[in-house]
Each structure stands twice: as C-alpha cells, then as structure tokens.
Amino acid sequence: MPTDESDASTDGAAAGDDSGKARDISLDEFQPYGTLAVTGAYFILLLVLYALLYFVEFATHAPHIIE
C-alpha cells in the first residue's frame, strides 16, 4: 500500500524522475512465471482428470459394449 509520503513524492517528482514510479518495461521483459505455474498446474490437472474419467469411469467399466 502506498503511503502518504510516497504519494507526495510521486506527485512532486519531475517527469523522467523514476523514484517511486512504476518502471516501464517492454513486452518481452514481462515474465509472469507465477501465472505460468498456475496455468500449467491447471493444465496438467485437466489432462489427468480427463484421462481418469475416460479410462476408469467409462472405458474399463465392465460390462461394456463389445460389438
């Protein structure tokens, strides 16, 4: 949370003075590894649960249709 002091310093800062201001970065410098980890975990969960549902709950539940 910004404090009153930092707000004041940002407001008073001259253009070009980066102290207290968020840094501008290019698209390629942005590396959201946390988001990648969460999305990756969800992706693996989805694949595992789909395979489990298909093979355990559907495909191998005898008796099943053979012809």
């Binding site: 093979f55 099943h64 249709i65």
Partner: protein
C-alpha cells in the same frame, strides 16, 4: 504481429489439449476397440404393430449358440419387458446381444455403473452385444424422461453362472 513467448506457449498448450481430448477418444475406439450402440442397418419396425408382429411380439431370451444368446426387449411406459415384472436372467461370461425398441415413446436403457447405455427409439431397433463378466445382479433404469411414472421405470438383470442358467424359459426360434 509480435506475440510474447508465454502467449505462444499457452496457445500451443491449448491446441495440444484439444488434440489430446480427440486423441484419447480415438485411442478408445481403435486400440481399445470400444463400441457404441448401433442401429440395425435398414431395419425399422412399426411401433403400432411391434407388439403383435415379429420377434418383439414375444420378447425374451433366445439362444443363438452355446456361447451366444440374444435378448429382444421392449421398453414401454413404464416397464422393461423382460426385466421389470421379474428379473431378466442371463448367463455370465457369455455373449449377449440386445435388440431393443419401444412401442410408445422414447426411452433409455442404462445399467448403472457399467458401459451399457442406449437410447430406445420407437420405430428403430437399438442393438449391441455385451458379455457380463460375473454372476451378480445388475439394475436397469430408464434415463430418458418418458412420462409421469418415468422415475419408477426400472428393471433387473440377474446374471447366473452358465452352469446354473435355466434354458427352459427361452423363447423358441
């Protein structure tokens, strides 16, 4: 257009997921040789006369060979014939072919907890073959809303060891 490498990765994984879903289903139908209920090619029945003509006039179990029996079953409001008024008795570990149709409205045939599941449509004959692996009792339920007593439409399949299967109740060819 410049795309961030993480976005490229996510787009690639999304496409991979779709490919995996399709691949798993194709694996089932090719390598595991799974089947779905079929409709006998070109065979239709007249729902108005199905109760009086043809094999469905005498629903029940018929013998094809020592290892193959067939069941002609009617799903009608609100019973399975045979199956509801008394259990349908079948031998275990034997090929069983079901032929099913309906004289009134659309019904469903499901053996809960198994892969046996078919829609029963008036005028069409749903056919599939199965093999009950063990001697025990299986339930049948109608999974397609068919009227006011749909929730009571149920039946039972009693699977017995082949040596105990009583052939005196078979329908003669």
């Amino acid at each position: 257009m410049h795309v961030h490498r993480f976005e490229k990765l996510w787009i690639g994984l999304s496409l991979l997921l779709i490919a995996a879903f399709i691949g798993i289903v194709l694996f089932g139908f090719t390598v595991m040789n799974l089947k779905v209920p079929g409709v006998e090619t070109g065979e239709t029945v007249d729902p108005a006369t199905v109760l009086s003509e043809g094999p469905f006039a005498k629903p029940g179990v018929r013998k094809i060979s020592d290892d193959h029996y067939e069941v002609y079953m009617l799903a009608q409001q609100f019973i399975f014939r045979p199956g509801s008024t008394r259990p349908l008795t079948l031998p275990a570990d034997t090929k069983i072919t079901f032929h099913m149709t309906s004289p009134d409205v659309m019904h469903g045939f499901e053996v809960p907890g198994s892969g046996l599941n078919s829609t029963v449509i008036p005028g069409q004959v749903a056919t599939f073959t199965t093999r009950f692996p063990e001697a025990k009792s299986y339930g049948i339920i109608c999974h397609q809303y068919c009227g006011s007593a749909h929730h009571n439409m149920q039946g039972e399949i009693k699977v017995v060891p082949p040596s105990e299967f009583d052939e005196s109740n078979l329908i003669s060819q």
